[in-house]
Subunit: 142 residues, 2 copies
């Protein structure tokens, strides 16, 4: 990330790199020792592994996919650290097993970011699909 940008800029850069299918730019958003847990619980460890896994999926199931998403919550965790929630929708993808897509997906990506010399980078990402019919509305207050 360019120096001077806030932590939420990582979320928009994530979406931009995905839609350009530019996995070098995508990988550069992550710190060397980053963790990423995808929607089916695959845990990639380290920038190289995260970039390689996404290079593979963007050559196959995500090749023609389009991600729409934005940071809907940014919470500071002290100096130089923040938690960013990115709400997203995905179209144009194949199913994760390579079969035809079951239709548009949406979900929530939690990005834990820290500020380094070169700007904000992702230290931990975890992604969860919103499952229609099982995702319950917030409990009413009071």
């Amino acid at each position: 990330m360019a120096k001077g940008s806030g932590p939420e800029a990582v979320a928009s850069a994530f979406v931009d790199a995905w839609n350009r299918h530019d996995m070098r730019a995508f990988g550069a958003l992550f710190a060397e020792d980053a963790d990423f847990v995808n929607v089916v619980g695959t845990w990639w460890k380290g920038q190289a592994e995260i970039e390689a896994a996404h290079a593979r999926s963007h050559a196959t199931v995500f090749r023609d996919s389009r991600l729409d998403g934005r940071a809907v919550s940014v919470r500071r965790l002290g100096p130089g650290a923040a938690a960013v929630h990115l709400a997203w929708g995905l179209t144009g993808h194949l199913a994760l097993d390579g079969g035809p897509s079951g239709g548009p997906r949406r979900g929530i990506l939690l990005l834990v970011v820290t500020e380094e010399a070169e700007g904000w980078r992702i230290r931990a990402g975890q992604n969860t699909d919103v499952v229609p019919g099982l995702s319950t509305p917030p409990v009413a207050k009071g």
Copy 2:
């Protein structure tokens, strides 16, 4: 959390409160403004909502459940902030739609914790099921 405990103690306290089905103790692990995204993408906002949602599920689908889990990764995010990955297995539960369980589940819970006057508390949690057959092994290096 007791003062003086490290961030990983939040993970064991999470498991303990779950297995005692003590939702007051469970809720007390979360900061007032915490976020929690569950395995099907339900996003609960604030300690009261998180506690109420879990009180409801522990009176129904999770009433006889048992959670086995431990912190498998703790990463400091600067002073007073950390990301903790909790690897878990769950047995004795019903399905989220109230139907019979499809069998043991396992998953990864990311806990973003900060140190407050009373000790470490959860600011953001996000939980993801490991989906057998879809969760891919790490990409080989080199």
